[in-house]
């Protein structure tokens, strides 16, 4: 995954960058499967296909798919320092105490969900019962966000409106 993301960032050709990101996504899907989350794995897999299609549709077939770049040493040094700082902060945060070790989650809230999920909702899939019953507010907000972003994309990409044609005629 990390190799894939490095390739995605550093390659010159935009098409291969997009495909590398898709490789990262598929590896992520496999990782989800091993981490005990088949719901997420399915969703990630399918969404990844759509991300690939949309990105390719958006980037290829436009003229210059290659990136022309000129690098200077100052930028390289700055980015190396940046990398070191962020990684150091990450090590500080996750090395500190009070953070759950890998494999031992704090299940204060979710214990209730796991134990009362079946009797309360009669739903065998606990994840579905959480997103659609215990936390349906969140899902409603999610639907709103999706609706709004799709609306924005459609408004940006709409075909020639009446106004635009009128302008052309006036010109």
């Amino acid at each position: 995954m990390i190799v894939g993301s490095i390739v995605a960032i550093e390659t010159r050709n935009l098409l291969s960058a997009v495909i590398s990101v898709a490789a990262v996504g598929f590896a992520l899907s496999v990782a989800f499967l091993f981490l005990g989350a088949p719901d997420i794995a399915i969703t990630q897999l399918v969404v990844e296909v759509l991300v690939l299609i949309i990105l390719i549709r958006g980037t290829i077939l436009l003229d210059n798919t290659a990136v022309e770049s000129h690098r200077d040493t100052l930028a390289v040094v700055t980015s190396l320092i940046f990398f070191g700082l962020v990684l150091g902060f990450g090590a500080m945060i996750f090395g500190g105490r009070g953070f759950p070790e890998f494999g031992e989650p704090v299940m204060r809230v979710s214990r209730v969900y796991v134990h009362t999920g079946l009797p309360a909702t009669h739903c065998a899939n606990i994840v579905t019962s959480v997103i659609l019953d215990f936390r349906a507010y969140d899902t409603m907000g999610e639907a709103t966000v999706l609706f709004t972003s799709i609306l924005g994309a459609l408004a940006l990409l709409r075909r020639d409106g009446k106004k635009k044609e009128g302008e052309v005629v006036a010109a």
């Binding site: 969703t43 299609i53 949309i54 077939l61 909702t121 899939n125 579905t128 639907a143 609706f147 990409l157």
Partner: protein, 151 residues
């Protein structure tokens, strides 16, 4: 741009039905097996997008007209809200008021099944709309560019 070769078109006709059925299965059994409205909706959207890629936009719009997609997009969100408000008549917002049914059956777990179906409609139609907008827009702008070159 009338779509791809005959091989691709034939295989697409053969496969699209199965993809839609699989998506419907993922949606309907979302409360018993892994899956749910989001994954199933994206799978159904993938089926229509495959049709559009293989056959071009005319055939895809004859299968799922743009108006219908708009209505399904908004209607899914509306049904979601209405089910939420239905709970208010008994108790609170999003209260699970429908019959819970028998465990491990398809028609169980109250409002989760209708909510899944609403989300699936919404996700599928909205993603299809966005993709069709992207495809149509690119084609038009490309033609405009070529005309500019010629002029």
């Amino acid at each position: 741009m009338k779509g791809m070769t005959v091989i691709v078109k034939t295989i697409t006709d053969f496969v699209v039905g199965f993809i839609v059925v699989f998506g419907a299965y993922i949606v309907l059994y979302g409360h018993l097996t892994p899956g749910g409205g989001f994954a199933g909706g994206v799978i159904i959207a993938c089926a229509f997008i495959l049709t559009m890629l293989a056959h071009g936009k005319d055939v895809a719009f004859s299968k799922l007209p743009e108006k219908v997609a708009h209505v399904a997009d908004s209607g899914g969100a509306l049904v979601f809200l209405l089910i939420g408000w239905f709970g208010v008549t008994v108790g609170f917002f999003f209260m699970n008021t429908f019959g819970r049914g028998e465990v491990f059956r398809l028609l169980s777990s109250g409002m989760i099944l209708p909510l899944n179906i609403a989300i699936a409609f919404k996700v599928a139609s909205s993603l299809f709309l966005v993709f069709s907008a992207l495809a149509i827009f690119r084609r038009r702008s490309f033609r405009a560019m070529i005309e500019d070159e010629l002029a």
